[in-house]
Amino acid sequence: MLLSVKNLSISFETDSGRFEAVRNLSFQLDKNQVLGVVGESGCGKSITNLALMGLLPKEAIVTADELVFDGLNLLELNEKKWSVIRGKKIGMIFQDPMSALNPCFTVRYQLEEAIRNNHLGIPSDQIYPMALDLLAMVGIPDPKSRMECYPYELSGGMAQRVMIAMAISGHPKLLIADEPTTALDVTIQLQILKLLKEIQQKNNMSIIFVSHDLNVISKISDKIQVMYAGEIIETGSKEKIIKDYRHPYTNGLLHSLPGHQLHSEKLYSIPGIVPDLKNRPSGCQFAPRCQSATNDCHQNEKIQITNDNGHQWRCINPLER
């Protein structure tokens, strides 16, 4: 096992009170596994990832029974020790590649810097060839001339490839991809997904792939985890989640994908809005928007997780199969 998270909660102290952005999150990730995390914006998926990199703002309060990555207890790391993790053991790419690259420096500078950070004491004459190899590996044509480009001279897809090259420069065991295709054209999306899968297999790397788009997630993931209001509400193998989903929210997500309602005119959307985390509803967090919610759903504070051979859901009235 590469990553084990037990009862992770992340809360923020604000002027209008304390709120839990993520609560009692438990999941595991194996080596070479691609975990897809799906959910609406504000469901806590990005926050969880930042916690794994120690990149949360200082105001965040992180508690967990266990947060172990590759034998290292992440809860005990100080700012200095995080440098052992960042870039070297966990790489990260982000949603908007154009703003994730520093506008004042060339691709070469930023890539070489990543290499220098992650391979301490590397002879300087090896850095540039290594950078060229990385650019070639992420499928950038004519790496030599791209090397001298500034970020504004790259297309979104190219910039994301550069980000990937930087993220894998330290041969991390885990790559966190936080909505890496959201800001890209659909055609480019597919290319980037393919590239990530390729690199994952070549480098024996695990990926946590975050997206709000189940369509994209299902193309790359081995396992899918559906999040709602800072909780995991359903998790299982890709096949189980796409075909045998049990939670009404997963059902709603799948049905709001364009293409699922060829015969009806209107695109489905889940009624209501995500709950205000500062003022959470009691019981199931999804109950206020759920069409099959009963009284028990609104009141039961301890909804049990049902486990069917690794396919788990947190629901009292799951869909029948």
Partner: protein, 338 residues
């Protein structure tokens, strides 16, 4: 890039033309008559007065006078001072170095202190250190130069006796004009390092007095610019790839934060040159500021017209250089210039 420079230079022409008109008309609108001032308070025989006026060319219509001023200026001749009877351009060159040296020292003081202060305040945002630094800079910003200069003289020259009260260098040293910068020229003089020491001591107080407001502006600007940059995605990227904190702050963040600061510094250099009038008067610094004040008092038209034209050219040139530096600092700008 070359087309850009060429376009910018073309743009200078109407600006400078406007400056000549304003300078020419403004000084003639101010009450007072240079001929009367030259002849003395008790006045003179109307015939002598008329003859003098004719000699100076002041009896001709304004348009003719202006045409003469422009045609001569285009040939590099700014006229002759009514008082000293020396060429304006010659007088100017002698004083230009003094003002430029003081202005650069003041700006250096502002930048070398202001940027680190701003960076520290941004990193320690909302802490006591931040409040102290920003509070102090607000006080510095609100300080009137003439008052602040006198306070500095009182403390450091009069009470502590550390620095001279006025001038560019002690009268004991004789320095030949080579570059016009006393700090450099003094090194070439007979006394070498001692003369340099004296020149350095002389420039500290006026540079501090002149640089205080720019220092405050730079510090506050750096702080807000740094805070904005530190929240950007690319800073998170730099952290995520394991970049050491110092490198993130001083390379990734500061490089981006400098872009707006450079713009402000450029504008500030203009106001420093204009602000030189006050500082130079307080510290008896023999620069263009002090010279122009004296000329205005004497209604020395050619000096005022010429001096303002030259100062305006200087400020415009500096802004132009700043724009080029800006293009260097901001790669996106460079793209637009290609």
């Amino acid at each position: 890039m070359l087309t850009y420079i060429f376009k910018r230079i073309l743009n200078l022409i109407p600006t400078l033309f406007g400056v000549t008109v304003v300078a020419f008309i403004l000084i003639r609108l101010v009450p007072g008559d240079p001929v009367m001032l030259l002849l003395g308070e008790r006045g003179a025989d109307p015939a002598v007065y008329a003859e003098m006026k004719q000699n100076l060319g002041l009896d001709q219509p304004l348009l003719i006078q202006y045409k003469k001023f422009i045609t001569n200026a285009l040939q590099g001749d700014l006229g002759t001072s009514l008082i000293s009877k020396r060429k304006v351009s010659e007088e100017f060159i002698g004083r230009f170095g003094a003002t430029l040296e003081l202005g650069m020292a003041a700006l250096l003081f502002a930048v070398l202190l202001g940027i680190p202060i701003g960076v520290i305040a941004a990193l320690k945002r909302n802490s006591l250190i931040d409040y102290f630094l920003m509070g102090t800079s607000l006080v510095g910003y609100s300080m009137p130069i003439f008052w602040w200069g006198i306070i500095l003289i009182l403390i450091f020259s009069v009470t502590l006796g550390l620095t001279p009260v006025s001038g560019r260098i002690s009268v004991m040293f004789e320095v030949d004009r080579i570059t016009g910068f006393m700090l450099i020229d003094s090194l070439f003089s007979e006394d070498g390092i001692d003369a340099f020491h004296s020149a350095a001591k002389s420039i500290i107080l006026p540079a501090v007095a002149m640089g205080t407001i720019p220092l405050a502006v730079t510090a506050r600007m750096t702080r807000s610019s740094m805070l904005e940059v530190l929240g950007q995605d690319y800073i998170r990227t730099a952290k995520a790839k394991g970049t050491p904190v110092l490198k993130i702050v001083f390379i990734h963040a500061l490089r981006n934060a400098l872009i707006p600061i450079i713009t402000v510094l450029g504008l500030m250099f203009g106001s420093i040159i204009t602000g030189a009038i006050l500082t130079e008067t307080i510290f008896s610094w023999p620069g263009i500021g002090k010279w122009i004040v004296a000329s205005i008092n004497a209604r020395d038209y050619p000096v005022i017209q010429g001096g303002i034209l030259v100062i305006a050219t200087m400020v415009i040139t500096i802004n132009f250089i700043v724009d080029l530096v800006y293009a260097w600092a901001n790669p996106r700008m460079r793209g637009g210039l290609k």
